[in-house]
Amino acid sequence: MNSFKLEVMTPSKRFYRGDVDMVIVTTKEGDEGFMAGHVWACKLLEVGELWILEKGAGKSDWKVAAVAGGFVEMKDSMIIYTDAVEWSEDIDMDRVLSEKARVEDWLVKNPDVDKNSEEMQSARLALAKAEIRAGVARGGKRR
């Protein structure tokens, strides 16, 4: 299988760099897999999971990370920019669950906040992030 270079960047550090066989990300239009020779693309990411199959890794040896949105740029090599990304094994489950509980609590207590308000949107985003992180910490939806 042909491999290609992947870089995952955050504002403060380079999260990952290496040769990979395949990458799966959640774009705004749904999950999408990228392999070498993919058409050049610039796509926005949803809060979601990032799956990386490293070069020479076994068929099921995926590396999984939680991504807080961002965008990918696919050319001959692939770059993913995101504000925050975390390997599944680094996620602190207690923190995720307490965060999730806090947001849910807020949603219950403030049922009449306008759906399109900034507060509501950020609450929903926080909830989505917590859910994804919890899912990734458990191994992700493909496992």
């Binding site: 550090k13 380079r14 050049w40 926005l44």
Partner: protein, 289 residues
């Protein structure tokens, strides 16, 4: 130096000596901080470089780019100045250089500007001199997180979209080496990216998802945030460098002063002894005579 008594000189030696010790230890602390800040700065710089490049490529490869962020599309009346200073002093010309540059620009404008101060020194200065500071960020800049810069960038972008401001200028210290920092004055909005005719357009089809416009609307705020963030990080790297230099020269000056004082102390002591001997000799001669 008979006018200064031995007591006075002694007191001065003591005070200059303790100042020297303080400046010297501040120098050492700054050296450590500089090393730490520099590591962060190098990583951030790389990231912002990538983002800037991507935007540039996007402009060049697509004709459907929304024009409201491009230079030359609206008259520039009100300018927002983001002035990055430090929260603490004792770092030589670090803050005053930035403030001087900003003030020159602000005074040259016809319309009242929008001032965003990052760091307490800039805010204090502009408030004291009767300028209106629109918003400020006062926590120590070396710990600023990307999320905080985003909060800072949001109102600026909104004002730009609402056409309340037509230009965003970033003024900060840029890091050249640990011995040299230079004030940088950068226009971050609107973009001054000229389409490069040399670049071969549409060599390959690029897929934009959900659409060029949306990708672009995502990238522009990201670009502004990244720019501000990297400027703050860069300025936070310059601060200990500038302080280290300032403290180094302060230590040198204190040492020079100590030398002079020691010399005059010895002179004064010697002349006191001489005086005493003269008195004794005169006394004994008077008795002998």
């Amino acid at each position: 130096m008979a006018t200064e008594s031995i007591q006075d000189i002694k007191r001065r030696i003591k005070s200059v000596g303790s100042t020297e010790r303080i400046t010297n230890s501040m120098k050492l602390v700054s050296t450590g901080k500089l090393r730490k800040a520099r590591a962060i700065f190098e990583k951030t710089n790389e990231n912002s470089h990538y983002i800037t490049n991507t935007i540039g490529e996007l402009f060049n490869s697509s004709k459907e780019v929304p024009t409201e962020y491009l230079a030359g599309n609206r008259e520039i009346k009100t300018t927002a100045y983001i002035v990055v200073t430090s929260g603490k002093g004792l770092c030589g010309g670090f803050n005053s250089n930035v403030i001087k540059e900003a003030k020159a620009d602000i005074d040259a404008d016809w319309e009242p500007p929008v001032i965003v101060a990052i760091g307490g020194k800039g805010k204090d200065y502009f408030e004291k001199h009767g300028y209106e500071v629109h918003s400020s960020y006062l926590a120590p800049p070396e710990n600023i997180s990307f999320l905080e810069t985003r909060e800072l960038a949001k109102p600026i972008l909104k004002m730009y979209d609402d056409k309340e401001i037509d230009e965003v200028v970033l003024i900060y210290n840029s890091f050249i080496s640990s011995m040299e920092q230079r004030v940088k004055n950068e226009i971050i909005l609107p973009f001054e990216i000229a389409s490069d005719p040399e670049m071969i357009m549409d060599t390959k089809f690029v897929e934009y998802e959900p659409s060029v416009k949306e990708v672009f609307n995502y990238l522009v705020p990201k670009y502004v945030e990244t720019k501000i963030h990297s400027a703050v990080v860069e300025s936070a790297t310059c601060e200990p460098a500038a302080r280290r230099m300032a403290m180094e020269s302060a230590t040198d000056n204190a040492r020079e002063m100590l030398n002079d004082l020691n010399l005059s102390y010895n002179k004064a002591r010697q002349s006191a002894i001489t005086d005493e001997i003269i008195e004794i000799v005169a006394g004994s001669e008077a008795q002998a005579g």
